[in-house]
Structures are given as structure tokens and as C-alpha cells.
């Protein structure tokens, strides 16, 4: 048996003991995970510094702060989320109990990414644990140091049989994908996403795919360009642009292009000093392969700001490109780096048309003081999430579902969405063997009279009070 097979088999065996069924057990595991973050901040930060050149504060802000908040949210709400959810009945089932029973799926595979390794690997794990599953955690091998820290620390804090960490590269991942899982949660790119889906098809395994895309950012000429550019600069160059929801490119009218460039330049200096290379708050490209990939995109573009780079350090300066055309190299795939192309467009119409030519992105940004502009942009496009007048922050609202659509992904998570996504919502009807008389109407021999009675009692149209089904209550405190 391969190492991967063993880990999965052990996880399944541990799941079958039933110990993750109790809500208390799950909350305990989550509390232990919480302790990991409060006790091991230094080791986590040191590894992130080596992988992505983030400072300790940066690591906390972007990686662990969100996780700690998420764990607290889960601990507070898990009992309620895991409880049976009652639904409306009809006259025929009036004396029965009808509810949705959230249940674990079994063994979940969580495949993490390298850009926010803790955030995107542990956040799905939190959902998996909370829903009562076992989970095999496969951190990205690209963030070498963080992956090692996960492998070392997780088994110390949480149940190492139920939640094994399996490290490795492509062959190990392929071996994992040959095993049967009850759900596969993948964060990464769409090419690998297709491979995952295909592997999942063999076992009829449902998947959640958190992919990416080119998230457009439209800046209306009438907005407060200075504030808009601050928010965009922050959203773009955090983590050196390696964020799935970073504003990928800007669309704006030619008349404001110079102003935008000027403002972004100002903010870059304010955030990262005159020499971002020496600024501790500015990151690095994860490795040389990605460095080359991003640098190749500059070939046919006009650099307005930045452009400095150093391959030995995987450093690319915060860069702005001007007068970019849709055919340019930098517009052919998700940049995932610190290059900010500006595509001049003559109108909102042209911007919308251009956006709709591409695949549906994970996020879509629009900066405008005019609600009509915002509404048009929202109504005439499709994207995972939509944020007006800022970047990235919709990610931090746990009550909002986070996920893609079309090429940017399948399924969503965060907060209760994670819990529901990694649960089976089982429909339950608990009847008694009494009241046979009522049932009599549906038994053969069939008569028209019986049909009439049955129709009246079993369908909500018969009773206004019992009309239709109710949407689940909005998630609110």
C-alpha cells in the first residue's frame, strides 16, 4: 500500500469509529486548531517569510487573522448549524416530523494552494472538521517551508488519524486522486481543476473548485480617483499580486489614464517606499518558474511605472502598464503577479463588452459614485463575487459565500457555507404507523373519489397556511 493509500485508509477507519460525530468532539478539534495559531505564530511567520517574503504582521493579517475569526465563528455556531432544520409540511404530513439532518460526508480531500497557504488550506479544513468529516490535507508543495510546518504542527494539535497531512508533488497528488473520497476541495488553477474533476468522475465524487481568472476593475472617470487608486494599489500589490481575487487589470476612459497612473505611483511609494525591494512589507514571486512566466508578459507592453526585477531574488517591482490592448500577452491569462495593465475603453458599454468576452472571473470590481453605473456593471456581467468601490474585502465577510462561477470555479464556502458544502443535507420524514385511514386514499384499487381527496390533502394549494416551501432563513446573527 502506498503512503497515500495508507493515510486515506486510516482516515476512513477513524471516521468509521464515529468519534467525529459528536459536536463536542468537533468543537474540541477546532479549539486545538485555535491554539496552534496562538502558540505557533513564530514558526508560521518564519516559514511564510522564507516562502513569500511576508513580514510576521503581514502573515498574521493576511493568513491567520481570518482563520482565527473563522474558528471562533464556527465554535459559536456549530451546535446550531449541526442541529436538525425543520421545514414546512403539508396537511397529509401534519402529524409527522419533517426536517433536514446535516450529516458528514465521510473523508474529504483538501488540496491547498501556495499563495495564502494557511488561509486556503486550513479554511476548508475548518469546514470539513466542523461538518464531522475526516480530512486528508495536501498542502501545496510549491510553498516548501510552510508545507513542512503544516506537516509538523497539525498532527500535534488535531487528531492525526482523522486529519492526516500528506505532502508531496504531482505524483503524490495523482496517487491521492486515485483513492475514493467523499468530496474533493481544490484551490488552484483551472487546468488542474479539470484534472481533479476528471479524477473525481470515476468515483462520482462531488468537488469544490476555487479557481481564478482575470478579475476586471473598472474605474469611472467621475469617482474619487485618489481613493480608488489607493484601494486598488493595496488590492493589487498585496502578496506581490499573487491573490486569486486581485484586481487583474484596469478598465478606464483614456482621459483619466494618466491620473490613475500618477495616483497608483504615489500609493506604491507610500506603501512600499521608494525602493520596494528593500521594503519588508513587499513580497516576492513564489519561485523562478512563476517569475519567468510573469516577466514574459511584459514583452509587448508599455511600462508606465516599475518594471525593475531581479531573477535571483524573484523580485518584480510594483509595475503599471499603459495603453494595453486586449491582444497583449499580459491579457491572455491571469497575471498573478505585480503587473497592473490599464486598458483604455471609451465607455461603460465597451468595458462590459470586453469583460463578457472573457471567462467569468472570481471577482469583479467597479469604482463609481453612480449607483446606476454599479448596477449596470453588476447586472450585465457574471463573476464569483462583486465588489463596488474597494478590492478584496468581500472575502472577509463570513456571511458572504466565497466561490467562483464558470471557469472561476464550482461551489462556495466560508462560514456556514463551508459547513453546508461539506455536509450531506439529508431530508428526513419521520412518520408513525398510525392514521392508516388517511393513507387509504392513495392505495389501489384506485377511484376518482380517492384521487380527489388525496390531491386536496397532499398539496399545499389546499391550504394557504401551508403554501410552498420556505427559503432557508438568511444567515444572520
Amino acid at each position: 500500500m502506498s503512503r497515500e493509500q495508507q493515510a486515506v485508509a486510516r482516515a476512513r477507519k477513524a471516521f468509521e469509529t464515529g468519534r467525529s460525530k459528536s459536536v463536542e468532539y468537533r468543537i474540541n478539534q477546532l479549539k486545538n486548531l485555535q491554539r496552534l495559531f496562538s502558540e505557533r505564530q513564530k514558526e508560521i511567520a518564519a516559514a511564510i517569510k522564507k516562502d513569500l517574503n511576508k513580514t510576521e504582521v503581514g502573515a498574521q493579517f493576511y493568513e491567520t487573522l481570518g482563520l482565527e475569526g473563522e474558528i471562533s465563528l464556527f465554535i459559536k455556531n456549530l451546535k446550531e448549524w449541526a442541529a436538525p432544520r425543520h421545514v414546512k409540511k403539508n396537511l397529509l404530513t401534519m402529524s409527522d416530523t419533517v426536517y433536514i439532518h446535516p450529516e458528514p460526508l465521510g473523508v474529504v480531500l483538501v488540496i491547498g494552494a501556495w499563495n495564502y497557504p494557511w488561509a486556503v488550506t486550513i479554511r476548508p479544513l475548518i469546514g470539513a472538521i466542523a461538518a464531522g468529516n475526516a480530512a486528508v490535507v495536501k498542502p501545496s508543495e510549491v510553498c516548501v517551508h510552510t508545507s513542512k510546518v503544516m506537516e509538523d504542527l497539525l498532527p500535534i494539535y488535531i487528531d492525526k488519524e482523522l486529519y492526516p497531512v500528506v505532502t508531496g508533488g504531482v505524483p503524490e497528488t495523482q496517487e491521492l486522486l486515485r483513492q475514493k473520497f467523499d468530496h474533493i476541495f481544490y484551490t488552484g488553477n483551472s487546468t488542474v481543476g479539470k484534472v481533479i474533476m476528471e479524477a473525481a468522475a470515476k468515483h462520482l465524487t462531488p468537488v469544490t473548485l476555487e479557481l481564478g481568472g482575470k478579475s476586471p476593475c473598472y474605474i469611472d472617470k467621475n469617482c474619487d480617483i485618489s481613493i480608488a487608486c489607493r484601494r486598488v494599489t493595496w488590492g493589487k500589490y498585496s502578496n506581490c499580486g499573487q491573490t486569486c481575487i486581485a484586481p487583474d487589470y484596469i478598465l478606464c476612459e483614456p482621459s483619466i489614464q494618466n491620473r490613475v497612473i500618477e495616483e497608483v505611483k504615489k500609493c506604491i511609494k507610500e506603501f512600499y517606499t521608494d525602493n520596494p525591494k528593500t521594503c519588508p512589507d513587499y513580497g516576492r514571486i513564489i519561485n523562478q518558474r512563476h517569475f519567468k512566466r510573469v516577466m514574459a508578459m511584459l514583452e509587448d507592453s508599455n511600462i508606465a511605472v516599475g518594471g525593475e526585477n531581479d531573477e535571483s531574488d524573484c523580485y518584480i517591482a510594483p509595475t503599471v502598464l499603459r495603453d494595453v490592448k486586449p491582444e497583449a500577452k499580459v491579457m491572455q491569462e491571469e497575471i498573478f503577479g505585480p503587473l497592473l495593465p490599464i486598458l483604455p475603453v471609451s465607455s461603460l458599454d465597451e468595458a462590459i463588452k470586453l469583460i463578457n468576452k472573457g471567462e467569468k472571473p472570481l471577482a469583479l470590481y467597479v469604482f463609481s459614485p453612480d449607483n446606476k453605473v454599479i448596477e449596470r456593471m453588476r447586472d450585465e456581467t457574471s463573476s464569483g463575487g462583486f465588489l463596488a468601490n474597494d478590492c478584496l474585502v468581500h472575502y472577509s465577510v463570513s456571511a458572504l459565500p466565497f466561490g467562483g462561477v464558470g471557469n472561476s470555479g464550482i461551489g462556495c464556502y466560508h462560514g456556514k457555507f463551508s459547513f453546508d458544502r461539506l455536509s450531506h443535507l439529508r431530508g428526513c420524514l419521520v412518520k408513525k404507523l398510525k392514521m392508516e385511514g388517511v393513507n387509504d386514499m392513495r392505495y389501489p384499487p384506485h377511484t376518482l373519489k380517492k384521487l380527489g381527496w388525496y390531491q386536496w390533502t397532499s398539496f399545499p394549494a389546499s391550504c394557504n397556511v401551508l403554501r410552498g416551501a420556505e427559503k432557508p432563513k438568511p444567515f444572520c446573527s
Binding site: 504582521v57 493579517f61 487573522l65 475569526g69 471562533s72 459559536k76 409540511k89 460526508l105 483551472s190 474533476m197 476528471e198 468522475a201 470515476k202 462520482l204 462531488p206 479557481l211 489607493r230 506603501f271 512589507d281 513587499y282 459614485p369 454599479i374 453588476r378 457574471s382 463573476s383 464569483g384 463575487g385 465588489l387 463596488a388 474597494d390 465577510v397 463570513s398 458572504l400 459565500p401 462561477v405 462556495c412 450531506h424 439529508r426 431530508g427 428526513c428 420524514l429 419521520v430 408513525k432 404507523l433 393513507n439 392513495r442 392505495y443 389501489p444 384499487p445 384506485h446 390531491q455 398539496f459 399545499p460 403554501r467 416551501a469 420556505e470 432557508p472 444567515f475 444572520c476 446573527s477
Partner: protein, 482 residues
């Protein structure tokens, strides 16, 4: 009979026709004609008229395909669809409303909501056993959610296939909804195209093909499959009442229901009490010559009849009720087989026919253990007057849905999500769940221009102090202080 334009044309032509159909639907979707609530309501209302105006033709087509008794057709193919239509029309407005969510202090002044948006052009592939219900109920969800739909009825239930092909373009917008027909070859060709969602009801084998085709385009899928739905009978039980419900749910549609109780597990004593009760109920329901009863369906095709007879011939159990059959009539009598072992032919795959094996297992625990060795089914049943037995089974099993002391009826409640888990499928629908299945839940956040000073906490240069403030403002706890 309706001429099927693609059935007999030379190869190449169907492919072109299909491409044109998809092109038309995509253009219609991009023109945003399906977005307004009024449009969706009109289509759903027209769908309702379609069913009401053509009830007799529907019943006749179902009788032709499955010898479905009128009562069953009305109940399980017409009324359930009408019920879903009422539900959608009553609730569409509220389903389409943005759903506001709670925020943290940092986002207190912003608008945060979830917006349900259509996915685009979706594909619905229907099966042959409830050819109206299992095609039209998903269609209702897809229309309500604002999508354009390619509808692929099962060619096996040919009369219903013909009827649907004739009626849909008469009642629904031709630009937005199209029926595409054909067998396995045509379906595979259809699957090569890109859809924004595929909804498939049928078997595991074909589901794998569907998933693989979907993977190429990263298309999300809903799979409504089947499985062997166990029926455990333990503890104190009113055998007569149980027998009524068991017979009704097992032999409805001659056992060809994805949620029919597939096999029974009970003790020898229960079995001894159950069998005569089953025999009596069968006579009460269908008379002494069941083949002559108008209330019993037939097996859908000679191929399936042969498959089922094969199981009966290979079983090592004892036939104690029924067993009669008639090949020309595609008839198999409601049959009960006892002394069935775990490795019997009847325990190999989903029966999907009017044969009820009873396995004698003395303890409830052993029975539960047996069900765990099998794939997760679409439904799980337990009959018992003891609530502790019901609870034990519920908590020690996994299945799409669960029902105690009855069969099938849990799927008629629009408030419950109907779908499988594991081998019985993923995703769910019915009622608002159908609307959700065909929608994208888009997170929308509208921020203001003020409070840039608050934003400054997040900008570099980073500091511990900024971090502490941020911690406070972004935690959910800070809201309650406000």
C-alpha cells in the same frame, strides 16, 4: 405520433442542428430576455397550461410507455409537477430577492448581500421511469432561476418523448428552451458542447460519462442516481400497516422508482408475520389476478423484463408470493422472495422492478452493519413503532433521504432537498432547492467612499498596532458591542 426531425437524418445534419439550437439559446440568454421576473412567470404559467391542457395526452403517453395506471400518472407525474409549479409561482418573487447578510464593524456601513443569478444555458437529461416528473421538475427550477434550457427526454419512454417534443415549443419560448432528442450516441455528442450546468437523472455508469464530459468545461453537475434502498423492520411493528405502506411504495410503477424500497431486513419472526400480511394487502390492492388489475404497471422494455427475470431465475431464495410473468405483456407479478442471502443475485445491484427480497437478520445491529457494506442509497427506510429503533437507524446510516414508517412520500415534500450522497448522486432539488441548484449565489458588496481612515489600518507599512485594531474591527464580536 410526432415526426422526430433528427431521428432519421444522415450524420452531420443532427450535429449542425444541435449547434444551431445551442447558438440560438446562448444568443437569447445573452440578450437577457430571461432575466425579468415577468418573463419567468409567463414561462412557468405557460408550463402549467401545458400540463393542464394536455393531462389526458400525458396520461395516455405514460400508459403507452409503462402501462402506468391513470392514478399513478396523475399523482406522480401530473400533480407533483403542478405542485412544484404552484410553489415556484408563489415564491419566485422572494426567491429572486437579494439576501442581506450580517457584517463586521469594518463593513458596518456597507451593503452586503447574496444575489441569485442565472448560470446561462443548462442541460437537463431525463430518465424513463417518471419521464414527465423527472424532466419537468428540474425544468421548473431552471426556468425560475432565469436560465435557457436544453431538454433531453429519455428515448426509452418513446411516447412521452414524442409528446414533450411536440408540446414544449407550443407553450414555451422557442428561443430559450429547446428539446433535443436521441439515444446514447446523440447524447454523447450533445455532451461535447459547453453548458453552464448539467442536471442528470439516471444510472451511475452514464453519470460517470456525464461527469467526464463536464470536467472538460468545468461545468457544475447535479446527479440524481439510485441505489439499493434498504428497508429495515425491527422492534414492535404493526405488520398490517407496515405491509400496506411497503406494498404501495415497492410496487408503485412496478418497482421502477429510484426511491422504491429495494430489499427488506428483518428477523425471522417479523418475516413470518410480514409475508402473509403482504400477500393479503396485494390481494386487497390488485385483486386475485394481478395481471388483470388496471392498477399495476408493466416493465418498461423487453430488455429490462429479461434482466429482472434473470435475477429471479438466479436467486437462491424462495419465492413465497407472486413469481408469475408474461413476456409479451412485459408483466412480472409483485413477487416476494425470502431466505435471501447477502451474496444472492438479488443483492448485486439496484433491482428496479417488482421483486422484494427479504433477508432474515436477527439483530438490528447486524442489519445496520450489512447496509454499511453497500454504497450509500438514495433513500433509507425503517418501519418500527419504537422511536429508539428509528433513531438508531437514522444515526447509523447515510443516504440521500430518510423516511420512517412509509416509503417514497418524503420526496413529495417541496421543503425537503431531494438528492443523493455518495453513489446515489450529489446536489439536490425540489422547491427552492431547485431554484438554488440552477443559480449562482453571487456575493455582492457595495462599499462607500467614506471611512478611508479606517481603511488606512490595512495599508502598509504594517505594524502590530494596526493589526490589533484590525483584529477588533473585523471580528464578528465587535458587532454586538455596537
Amino acid at each position: 405520433a410526432v415526426f422526430a426531425p433528427w431521428a432519421n437524418t444522415p450524420s452531420g445534419a443532427p450535429c449542425k442542428r444541435r449547434a444551431q439550437v445551442l447558438e440560438r439559446l446562448r444568443t437569447a440568454f445573452e440578450s437577457r430576455v430571461t432575466i425579468p421576473e415577468k418573463f419567468r412567470r409567463t414561462q412557468l404559467t405557460n408550463l402549467m397550461s401545458m400540463i393542464k391542457d394536455n393531462e389526458e395526452q400525458i396520461v395516455n403517453a405514460l400508459h403507452k410507455d409503462l402501462t402506468k395506471p391513470k392514478f399513478e400518472a396523475i399523482l406522480s407525474e401530473v400533480e407533483i409537477v403542478m405542485n412544484e409549479l404552484h410553489c415556484a409561482l408563489s415564491n419566485l418573487t422572494s426567491w429572486m430577492q437579494p439576501e442581506y447578510v450580517s457584517k463586521n464593524l469594518a463593513t458596518k456601513l456597507d451593503e452586503c448581500f447574496v444575489r441569485r443569478e442565472p448560470l446561462g444555458v443548462v442541460l437537463i437529461i431525463g430518465p424513463w421511469n417518471y419521464p414527465m416528473q423527472l424532466l419537468i421538475v428540474p425544468l421548473i427550477g431552471a426556468i425560475a432561476a432565469g436560465n435557457c434550457v436544453v431538454i433531453k427526454p429519455s428515448e426509452v419512454s418513446a411516447a412521452t418523448d414524442n409528446l414533450i417534443t411536440e408540446l414544449i415549443p407550443k407553450y414555451l419560448s422557442k428561443d430559450c428552451y429547446a428539446v433535443v432528442r436521441g439515444g446514447a450516441k446523440e447524447t454523447q455528442a450533445l455532451l461535447k458542447n459547453r453548458f453552464d450546468h448539467i442536471f442528470y437523472t439516471g444510472s451511475q455508469a452514464v453519470a460517470r460519462v456525464v461527469l467526464q464530459a463536464a470536467a472538460v468545461h468545468l461545468t457544475p453537475v447535479t446527479l440524481e442516481l439510485g441505489g439499493k434502498c434498504p428497508c429495515l423492520i425491527y422492534g414492535r411493528v404493526n405488520a398490517t400497516a407496515a405491509a400496506h405502506r411497503l406494498v404501495w411504495s415497492k410496487f408503485f410503477n412496478a418497482g421502477q422508482s429510484c426511491v422504491a424500497p429495494d430489499y427488506v431486513l428483518c428477523s425471522k419472526a417479523t418475516c413470518d408475520a410480514l409475508v402473509p400480511a403482504l400477500r393479503q394487502v396485494l390481494e386487497d390492492f390488485y385483486g386475485s389476478d394481478i395481471q388483470k388489475s388496471p392498477d399495476m404497471s408493466r416493465i418498461v422494455t423487453p430488455k429490462h423484463w429479461t434482466r429482472l427475470m434473470g435475477l429471479l431465475n438466479r436467486t437462491k431464495g424462495k419465492v413465497v408470493v407472486g413469481g408469475e410473468h408474461d413476456e409479451k405483456d412485459r408483466y412480472i407479478a409483485p413477487t416476494v422472495v425470502v431466505d435471501v442471502a447477502e451474496d444472492d443475485a438479488l443483492m448485486e445491484e439496484e433491482i428496479f422492478g417488482p421483486i422484494l427480497p427479504i433477508l432474515t437478520i436477527e439483530s438490528l445491529e447486524e442489519s445496520i452493519k450489512l447496509t454499511k457494506t453497500k454504497e450509500k442509497p438514495l433513500a433509507f427506510y425503517v418501519f418500527s413503532d419504537e422511536s429508539s429503533v428509528v433513531k438508531k437507524v437514522l444515526e447509523n446510516s447515510s443516504s440521500g433521504g430518510f423516511c420512517s414508517n412509509d416509503g417514497i412520500v418524503h420526496m413529495a415534500l417541496p421543503g425537503l432537498p431531494f438528492g443523493g450522497v455518495g453513489n446515489s448522486g450529489f446536489g439536490h432539488y425540489h422547491g427552492h432547492w431547485g431554484f438554488e441548484a440552477f443559480s449562482h449565489q453571487r456575493a455582492v458588496m457595495l462599499r462607500g467612499w467614506a471611512l478611508e481612515k479606517l481603511n488606512a489600518l490595512r495599508y502598509p507599512p504594517y505594524s502590530d498596532e494596526k493589526l490589533s485594531w484590525l483584529r477588533w474591527t473585523t471580528s464578528p464580536k465587535s458587532c454586538s458591542i455596537m
